[in-house]
């Protein structure tokens, strides 16, 4: 996937000037927030479950190597194969090689952000294998040639009229006079189109919400059932997941599942929670003959033991972006790579470099709403600040901002000089702004005054007035 994070400001500008996108983003604010709040409020132990979920993942990360090895053993015992991929390129090659061995022409795909991270679809297409996205949202954006704009609702930026237009453009074998005005008719049409593809696919690729070390099981949570058809019908099932999906036991997964859907969509549980362990056994009525798991690192192990380790607790529920005022304003594509919103602002610099993605951790008001709803209690603003520190250390911030900061700091460290200077400055500014009480424009302050007036100071500083009063009394 092409990285456009360096031109974040331009992306954001375009997003703000895009009325259909703005309309779609309005739905995010309305739909996700109230539902999460209601489901959290309905469960008295919700906050305790969050603590527990955090502790489970912290423990796992402390012993990640052991759990990864245990998981590999269990998968192998069940007749499956585990492949470790150090980076995106290695993961793509492993998957293509399996597809080639099977002579695969088409692969169906369940929703997977790791697949986006490694650019799997483009790679498979370039090598003669046709990938078919089967999650409705993913199917829509695949037709539109887009990347997901949200980690659990990939087509959240698309309005239903736009979906209708896309279906009419692509599904030309269907009656042009058909009624597609309702979401249900759109859903039925997609379902009809996908049915044949499920049956024809040679390989099914899914992501994983959890990899259970105790049992060698991969777990997916979905609402459409497409993941089940993807992993059961084709003869080969490939799971692609990153290292931090490892969870020690089935019981641990049960605990984390209780906060996952509630935080994501406000559901108690998603409609389908599917566990798969190895290929089909002789007594099983159905299932794949071959079962592969590709476990991706891609820089994550370098986060262990650093300021960014907490990010590896993330279970990809999307609550942080659902509650983020910046995400609401600009949508997911503006962030310029796979992961948007607060979790993307922390994770993306690790994966593609802070030199390319420096805007992301800076484009936050630090309002803290993301952290307040994160089921895994990840201190997202704190880690964005750590990225700003890395940028500062590497002199990556704009020169003007750095110079401004240094000037301010010089004064802030010298109270007497500061008070003398501010007394003069505020006196002048107060006098200038006296007539109107505010400024519609100010030199060097266009970042402020382009959008809002600048309130004038009252005049004499508090410190100056206080000093006078003390003298008088």
């Amino acid at each position: 996937m092409q990285i456009t994070s360096p031109r974040f400001k331009k992306n954001a500008h375009e997003a703000l000037q895009n009325p259909p996108l703005q309309k779609a983003m309005g739905n995010v604010e309305v739909n996700f927030i109230g539902r999460r709040a209601a489901s959290a409020a309905a469960l008295p132990e919700f906050e305790a479950l969050r603590d527990n979920a955090r502790d489970i993942k912290n423990h796992t990360l402390q012993h990640l190597d052991l759990y990864l090895e245990a998981y590999e053993r269990k998968v192998t015992e069940a007749g499956g194969h585990v492949h470790f991929a150090e980076d995106a390129d290695a993961a793509r090659k492993i998957i293509l090689e399996i597809c080639r061995q099977k002579g695969a022409k088409t692969v169906t795909k369940g929703k997977s952000m790791i697949s986006e991270e490694i650019g799997l679809n483009q790679y498979l297409e370039a090598n003669g294998v046709v990938p078919v996205e089967t999650d409705l949202g993913e199917y829509i954006i695949q037709l539109r040639g887009e990347a997901p704009s949200h980690i659990i609702a990939p087509a959240v930026h698309v309005n239903k009229e736009e979906v209708e237009a896309e279906f009419r453009r692509v599904h030309t074998h269907l009656d042009p006079k058909r009624d597609l005005s309702e979401p249900t008719t759109l859903l039925a049409e997609a379902r009809g189109e996908l049915r044949a593809k499920f049956l024809a696919a040679d390989v099914g690729i899914t992501g994983a919400n959890f990899l259970i070390a105790e049992t060698g099981t991969s777990v997916i949570v979905t609402n459409e059932g497409n993941g089940d058809l993807t992993q059961i019908l084709p003869r080969t099932h490939i799971v692609i997941a990153s290292i931090e999906k490892i969870t020690p036991t089935l019981n641990d997964v049960g605990q984390i599942l209780r906060v996952l859907a509630r935080s994501a969509t406000g559901q108690e549980m998603s409609v389908y929670t599917t566990f798969s362990t190895g290929p089909r056994r002789p007594e099983d009525p159905d299932g794949p003959d071959d079962y592969h798991v590709v476990i991706l690192d891609n820089g994550r192990s370098s986060m262990l033991g650093t300021d960014f380790e907490d990010m590896l607790r993330c279970i990809r529920c999307g609550a942080c972006m659902n509650h983020c005022p910046v995400y609401h304003a600009i949508g997911g594509h503006a962030y310029g790579w796979v992961y948007p919103g607060p979790m993307g602002a922390v994770l993306t610099p690790t994966l593609i470099g802070v030199d390319k993605s420096g805007h992301l951790p800076n484009a936050s008001t630090f309002c803290g709403r993301c952290e307040s709803v994160c089921p895994m209690r990840i201190p997202l603003p704190k880690m964005m600040r750590h990225w700003r520190e890395r940028e500062f250390e590497q002199h990556l911030q704009p020169k003007a901002a750095r110079w401004g900061l240094k000037t301010w700091a010089w004064f802030a460290k010298r109270p007497r000089v500061y008070q003398l200077a501010t007394r003069v400055a505020m006196g002048g500014l107060g006098l200038m702004g006296r007539a109107k009480g505010r400024f519609a424009s100010l030199p060097l302050a266009s970042g402020w005054t382009t959008y809002r007036d600048f309130p004038a100071p009252e005049g004499e500083t508090f410190q100056a007035q206080w000093a006078k009063r003390r003298k008088a009394s």
Binding site: K9, N362, C367, G368, R434, G437, A445, Y451, P455, P457
Partner: protein
């Protein structure tokens, strides 16, 4: 003002951390804070060697300057019983972040922690520490209250200002939609990403206008200047004030971004 805690023992010595924005732009808020603290039974002092809490450097990734400024704050304020700031953001910086800023430093970490333990935002200090349950102030009109992010999420300030506003004679509180959603200020964010900030503050001013109150209140001057600036740009007649001004009954002067009365 009713303040049982103050009546019980000797008067606490409170250092007012004015905050740089109040010092420079809105001294009235500082005097309102002094009045409220004195009415609650505190002895108020204003250490002269104060500038800023260091948050601009801290949030820009410049830890060295943030620490240098924070050391100045610790030196100037550690000798008092309490440190009180008319801002959830600045109090939150000292209370929630100084510990992390000096983490592991054998000299400064304990001093930073000690200061954090006795630092409070003004309104929550009055209610939670001094036990103030009502103020003697009057305000004819309706207000709506914006919960600034740091105060709300770092310090748990939500009920305290509302409980005191409820005791102001003549005042009606008309809550806006999404009181707890950011106004888009975010310190340097509002100028670095002005266009995004504008979108966020525009949603906020829409909610403010729809609340139908004559005055907007909040506890942080940065947020207030942002919202006032946007409301005035939109031509709104909603007046904007710091909550301390209303609680202290100091509302004779012009509201934020307004001209002095009788000066056309």
């Amino acid at each position: 003002m009713t303040a049982p805690a103050a009546a019980a023992g000797s008067k606490p010595r409170v250092a007012l951390f004015v905050t740089c924005l109040v010092d420079l732009f809105r001294p009235t808020v500082g005097f309102a804070a002094v009045k409220l603290l004195e009415d609650a039974g505190c002895i108020v002092e204003v250490p002269a060697a104060q500038t800023c809490c260091g948050q601009p450097a801290y949030n820009s990734g410049d830890r060295a300057d943030a620490r240098a400024v924070a050391e100045g704050v610790i030196r100037a304020f550690e000798g008092y019983d309490f440190v009180v700031a008319p801002s959830g953001s600045c109090a939150g910086m000292i209370k929630a972040h100084y510990g992390e800023l000096f983490h592991g430093d054998p000299n400064w970490w304990p001093r930073a922690d000690a200061l954090a333990g006795k630092t409070f935002e003004l309104v929550s200090f009055l209610v939670d520490v001094m036990g103030v349950t009502q103020v003697e102030a009057a305000f004819e009109g309706s207000v709506t209250y914006h919960d600034s992010c740091s105060g709300l999420r770092e310090l748990g300030i939500k009920a305290q200002p509302r409980s005191l506003l409820g005791t102001v004679d003549g005042l009606t509180l008309k809550e806006m939609k999404d009181t707890d959603v950011c106004c888009g200020f975010g310190g340097t964010f509002c100028v670095k990403y002005g266009e995004i900030s504008d979108k966020i503050v525009s949603k906020k001013t829409k909610n403010i206008r729809e609340a139908g109150a004559g005055t907007l209140l909040a506890g942080d001057l940065g947020c207030l200047m942002n919202m006032a600036g946007k409301l005035k740009r939109e031509g709104s007649g909603v007046e904007v004030r710091h909550v301390a001004e209303v609680l202290a009954g100091m509302v004779e002067g012009p509201a934020i971004g307004e001209k002095r009365k009788g000066r056309d």
